[in-house]
Every structure is written in C-alpha cells, then in structure tokens.
C-alpha cells in the first residue's frame, strides 16, 4: 500500500472518530443536563444520536468507493452541525458560543440537500442543481448571520447568557429570518425531491429498480421536513411519530447515497468485463448482447458504421431505423468514433444512462478498443500476408536467378572454354606436325590447366543450381547429393512425378545443408534421407547417428528455416546431445502455385 494512501486512510479514520466523539458528547451531555421533565424519550434520543453515526459510517464507505471525496466530506461534516438543542443548556454560560451553534443547528439540512444534489457522481450535474445549491448556501449563511447578530437567548431551550454579538433588538426580524429560512429549506427539499422523483420515474425499469432507495428517503425527508416546519410555524409540538420518521428518513439518505455509488462501481466492474470481451475480440453480433448485460438495459442497440455505404447499420446489416434516438424521449444515442475521428458505431441506450457518463465512457472506450484491435489485427494479418507473398516471390526470384546464372555459365563460359580447349588441341597437333615439339608440350600443359579450370567451373555451376534437379527432380538430385556426402547415407525418395520448382529447390537445399552439417559437425557414421509425399505435403526427414546437440540457430540452418518458412512449410530440429540429429521439414504443395 502506498504511504500516501495509508496516510489518507489514517486521517479519515481520525476525522470520523473525532466527529463521532463530538456528536456523542453533545447528545449525552445535552440529555443529562436537561431537566427530567424536558427530557425526550430515551428511544427517541437514541435514534437522534444514531443519525450522525450513520452519516459518519457512510462517510467511511463513500471515501473508500466513491469517485469523488466531496460527498464523504459532507457526510463527515454532518455530525458536527447535527446539534441536539438540549446541548445548548450545557453551554448556556458561554455567551460567545451558543449563538454560533444555534446559527448552524439547521445546517445539516444544507449538507443533506447538497449531498442529494451531488448524487451520484459527486458533482453538480446541471445548472439547476448548481442554482439550488447556491440558494441553499446563501440562505444558510444568511440564517447564521441573522441568528448571530439578532438572536435573543431562546428561553424555551436554555437560560443562556446574553448574545454578545447582538447588534440591535429586532425580535420580529429574527423571527422572520427563522421562519423564512425554514420555509426556503422546505421548498428546496421539495424541489430537489420532486426533481429526483421525476428523473427516477422517467428512468427505464432497470435503472429505477437499482436507485429506488434514494427518492424514497428524499420523499420521506421532504414530507416530514414540511410537516415539521408547519408545526414549528404553528408553534405546536410535532407528533412523536413524525419526528421519528423524519430521523429515519434523514439517516437513510447517506445510506442510499453509498448504495448508489456502490452500484455504479459494480457497473464499472461490468465495464471491466466488457474490456475483457473486447480483448478477446467478440464479434459484432455479441456486442449488443454484452452491452445490454453491462448496462442492465435490454433496449440497447448497437449500430455499426458502414464505411462503403456511409451509414449506420446493425450487426445483421439492416440500416438504422429512421429516428432511433427518440420516439418517446426514452433513448439517447452515443456515437463512438476512432481517435482519428472515423465513426465506428452508434449505441442507442436508455436516456437514464446519460447520467452515468463514466459508465458510457467506459463502454465507448471498450468498443473503440475492440474495433481498433480488430482493425489492427486485420491490418497485421494483411501485412503479414503481403510479406509472406513477397518473401515467396523473393525466394522464387532467387531460384530463378540461380537457374539463369547456371544456364548462362553452361551456354556461355563453359562452351567457350570447351571450344578453346579444342582449338588448343588442334594447335598442339599442328605444332607437332611441323616438328615443333616444345610448343606441343607447352600447349598440352595449357590444355590440362584449362581442363582443371573447367572442372572448377563445373563444380561452381553445380553449386549454384544443380542441372540434375531441373531435369530429374528430387528423385535424381537427392541420391546425387547423398553420393557427395562422405558419410554413407540411405536414401528413400518417394515423390512420384515432379513437384513445383520452388518446392523442389527448397527441399534440395534443405538436404544439401543438412548433409553438409552431417559431414562437418555430426561425427556420424550413418545418415538417412527420406522424402515422401503424404496428403499433398512433402515430408522430408534428414537424420544421422552423430553426437547431436545441433543448434537450430546455426547460420546455415537458420537460412534453411527461412527458406522453408517462405514456401509455407515448417522445419523442426531435434538434436538431443548424444542421440543424433533429426531435421523434419513439411511443405504443403498447395502453398505455392
């Protein structure tokens, strides 16, 4: 765990512990100093004391899982301003303190309201929310100022010391501010609740089932708040039941909040699942299904961009319906485009999901990634195929060049040297006829040198391209190769008819290189070459009984492996130390035309 994170957790734990302690202190001391006749019932007092504890606990959870720390801070602040009125008696002698506490003792309403406005993402979603928040804040600050500057000690609550901040004696004005604030609070709570309720009702079935707690809590809170305000204004005592319901409603708000963000988190986990599907390359038909599952919205449709026709169509190719977005205002469209701006797809989803931009961001990223992956994959495959073909062409061109060089040597240099030898012989004969014996001997020597040169040239030409391979194929060329190997080699070539030239020459060079290794490195006493045609595949095995331990990356073998690869074949080398070497090559005949 990172030290920064651990520090943060410690700080948060201390903050929660501190506000819990403060809140309990206020509740208990307030309860104890109240005269018995004024004490509330123990059960009610306990419930009242539980509310800030619920907030503190939810703050801990919200900090741990919430996308933003703001809601958690509001929740942890809640116990501080959840001031039980009996507590005023405890501090009744502190004239400088009680007006301040009295000024903020209704601020829990402000915190709760803002908390609801921040639901679920931790920021004000729209302008209305910001306006409502601002009104609540201004009203609360005004109430605090009004209370501090105007309030007389509330006789019903305590025998408080005089208010030292009081500037004028204006009880009517203080009463107006008091009532006005409560009125604004009730109105705001109702507006927020109704707004929330409307959004909830307009949401799709899946969206509603998930978030049903919050509006219920809000509604309960707003109604009880209104009822309380009315009874307060009428100077009557609220019925105990109403007060109890109100407390439960308030306490359920942070619980709803935490439940909501935990649900969102769950959604993100499902997006992560979606990412996994993405990585594995799901096909288009499965996408809509996966999305519906991820978003818990069965009405999800995915329309893919058809580049050829320049329109969106679903996975089965049907073009997008006329106005898919909005028949009854239930659906929104989410366009997904590649980083270069090319359209990829259009996701039609429940409008409610628009509130969850992070989720939709996740979904569109997953989709983009999937399409990009697919595109990259096919691009790589296409490139690879081109490389394969060009490599095969290069090999064929190389073979062709070798054949041409050999033929040029055969028809050119070799013929010329042969006829030169013939002329030299005629010249030597003439020299002898004329009795110039030393010249004849000289010319004989030249002919011998010429024949040596011819022999070397012959070997060279043979190495470049064995003419026997062209005329007789593997059936003749492989035994000839084996005959040149100093190690006795058993031959078993069963390839009826001729194979494609490039395959014949590949097989020939494999055998040549392998036998060269047998002769040079294997210390073998025996070798085997087997070439069979099995199921339209040339199977070539070169084996020896030598010391083994041949490195596959030996330069000669590497070149051979490349050649085999280039014609679509595969080469394996088995060479355990001390147990000989077996080189197996399989070349499908269909690989080249």
């Amino acid at each position: 765990m990172a030290p920064g994170r651990r520090g943060r957790i410690i700080k948060r734990t201390i903050a929660i512990a501190a506000v819990v302690a403060l809140s309990l202190t206020m509740e208990i001391t307030g309860f104890l100093v109240s005269p018995e006749s004024e004490r509330p019932e123990v059960s009610y007092a306990t419930l009242h004391a539980m509310v800030p504890l619920v907030f503190a606990a939810c703050a801990g959870v919200a900090w741990a899982i919430g996308p933003s720390p703001v809601p958690a801070r509001l929740m942890v602040l809640f116990p501080v301003v959840w001031i039980p009125l009996p507590f005023l008696r405890v501090i009744e002698d502190l004239g400088w303190l009680w007006p301040l506490l009295y000024g903020v003792h209704l601020w829990w309403g402000l915190l709760t309201g803002i908390l609801v406005l921040l639901y679920p993402r931790g920021d004000f979603g729209d302008r209305l929310a910001r306006v409502l928040g601002a009104i609540a804040l201004v009203a609360s600050v005004s109430y605090l100022l009004g209370t501090v500057l105007l309030a007389e000690p509330p006789a019903a609550l305590c025998d408080c010391a005089p208010n030292p901040y009081r500037i004028i004696d204006a009880p009517v004005m203080a009463g107006v501010i008091d009532l006005g604030y409560r009125f604004i609070g009730v109105v705001l709570a109702l507006v927020i609740s109704v707004r929330f309720l409307v959004r909830w009702i307009r949401g799709s079935v899946p969206a509603r089932t998930v978030a049903f707690l919050m509006p219920l809590a809000l509604l309960a809170w707003a109604t009880t708040l209104a009822a309380q305000a009315v009874t307060y204004a009428a100077n009557a005592t609220a019925p105990q039941v109403l007060a109890t319901v109100s407390l439960v409603a308030i306490a359920s708000i942070p619980v709803s909040f935490v439940a909501g963000i935990s649900h969102t988190r769950n959604m993100r986990a499902r997006v992560a699942d979606l990412m996994r599907i993405t990585r594995e390359g799901a096909d288009r038909g499965l996408w809509a299904e996966s999305l519906a599952r991820t978003l818990r919205d069965a009405s999800v449709r995915v329309y893919w961009w058809d580049e050829e026709r320049g329109r969106y169509a679903d996975a089965s190719g049907d073009p997008i319906e006329h106005d898919p977005a909005d028949r009854n205002g239930d659906h929104s469209l989410l366009p997904v485009a590649s980083p270069t701006g090319m359209p990829i797809a259009l996701i039609r989803h429940d409008r409610v999901l628009t509130d969850n931009m992070r989720l939709l961001d996740g979904v569109s990223s997953a989709l983009r990634l999937s399409v990009d992956n697919g595109r990259l994959r096919s691009e790589i495959e296409r490139t690879l195929e081109q490389v394969r073909q060009s490599r095969a062409r290069i090999v064929e061109a190389g073979d062709e060049a070798r054949r041409r060089i050999e033929r040029d040597l055969h028809d050119g240099a070799q013929q010329h040297l042969v006829s030169l030898g013939m002329r030299l012989r005629l010249a030597a004969n003439q020299a002898r006829d004329r009795g110039i014996e030393p010249l004849g001997v000289e010319l004989d020597g030249n002919i011998a040198m010429l024949n040596d040169a011819l022999k070397e040239l012959r070997e060279l030409a043979h190495g470049i391209h064995p003419s026997l391979l062209s005329s007789g194929g593997l059936a003749l060329a492989v035994p000839e190769l084996a005959g040149r190997c100093p190690v006795p080699v058993e031959i078993d070539v069963q390839a009826e008819g001729r194979l494609p030239e490039v395959i014949e020459s590949t097989a020939y060079f494999v055998v040549a290189e392998a036998l060269a290794n047998v002769a040079k490195h294997a210390q073998a006493t025996r070798g085997w070459v087997r070439a069979h045609l099995v199921d339209h595949t040339l199977e070539l095995v070169v084996r020896d009984n030598g010391v083994g331990g041949a490195a596959p990356e030996g330069s000669g073998m590497l070149g051979i492996a490349d050649r085999v690869d280039a014609v679509g074949g595969e080469l394996t080398i088995e060479s355990p130390a001390g147990s000989g070497t077996t080189i197996t090559v399989r070349i499908p005949l269909g690989a080249t035309d």
């Binding site: 070799q414 030898g421 012989r425 024949n451 026997l468 005959g483």
Partner: protein, 221 residues
Amino acid sequence: MDETSRPLRVAIADDALLLREGIAKVLEGGGLEVVASVGTGEELVEVVRAGGVDAAVLDIRMPPSYRDEGIVALESLRASGSTIGVLLLSMYATPEYALRVMGAGSGTGYLLKERVSEPQTLVRAVETVASGGSVVDPEVVEQLVHRTRADDPLARLTERERSVLELMAQGYSNGGIAQTLFLGLKTVETHVRSILQKLDLEESPEHHRRVLAVLTLLGAR
C-alpha cells in the same frame, strides 16, 4: 562394299554452333564422315530415321527446355528400333545420366564435353558405340567408385581389382583393360571373374550389360 574402308557416317546435335563445328572438325580429323549437324534432338532423330547414319553425337542439354533432350532423343531412337551408336556429351559428370544412357541399350556412351580436346578419346568413343560397345566417362566412374555406401561392396576388392573395375565401368573390353594396365588377357579375365563373383554380378556375354551391371551396382544405394 568394303566394310572396313568405308568411313563411319556421324550426325551431330548441339545447340552451340561453335562446338558443333569443333566436334565435326575433330571427328573428320579422326577419319570419320560428318553427314549431318543439327541444333536439336528432334532434328537429329529425323536425320537418323532418314537413314545413312552409323553414329550420333548429342549434347544432353538442348532446346527447347535445356534439360535432358539428348537422352530423350536417344530413348526415342531406341524405342523406334534404331541401333546406331549414340554418344552423349554433357557439361556435367552426372552418374544418374550415365546410368540412364546405359539403360537405353547397347551402343551408347556418355562423355564430358571437355573430352573434345582429346580427339583420340572422342573418335574412339564414337567408334566404340558405333560397334555396339559402351563408353562411360572416367570422371563419372571415379565419382561412383568414391561414393560412400553403408555396406561398401568395393571394400572386398583388391587394389588391382578396383583398377580393373573402373575400366570395366568405363566400357573397356577385357582386351582393352589388358592393354591399358599392361596385363595379360588371362590375368584380366581372372580378375573380372573374381570381381563379378565378389560383387554378386552375373557374367554377361553381352558387353554393355556388363557395364550397366557395374554402374548400377556402383550407383545403387
């Protein structure tokens, strides 16, 4: 007509004009008569079928595909019943070709092209094949003898027997071998019998069969 006085009538096929003329000159210098000189195997087959040819000298690689047209021409001649001597010339000493040439029947030979600078060898080879004998280039034989084999039958032969075997493979008769190695004919006959016995070969009265058998043995793997 006097058989001995009439010169052998030879047809030549080689796509290289220079060589064709050179070969003709060498053969004529050796007392043979060159009656035709063509550039392809097919033309040669026609010339021979037209009659009046005792022997043919062919390049192995000729148009159209520059592979083994010479041998194909030989095989087509033999298939049509012609028994004239056929000597094939090749840039390469390829045992597999030599075996194929011998396999076509008697009166055939296989020589490296560069032998044209040894007029006697070339002329004698033509004479040999024309008279139904066999000729195999010494370099081919050398290759075959030096081929490595899992169970080398040649290991059973003595040094002298090996020398005799090499000449047998080249197409020499017992008399020729005796002359070349400066041995008595009886001695050579004894060696040959011993060789054939050791190599499990049948003594064949027909000369070229002996060559073929030896070559096959040497070439077999």
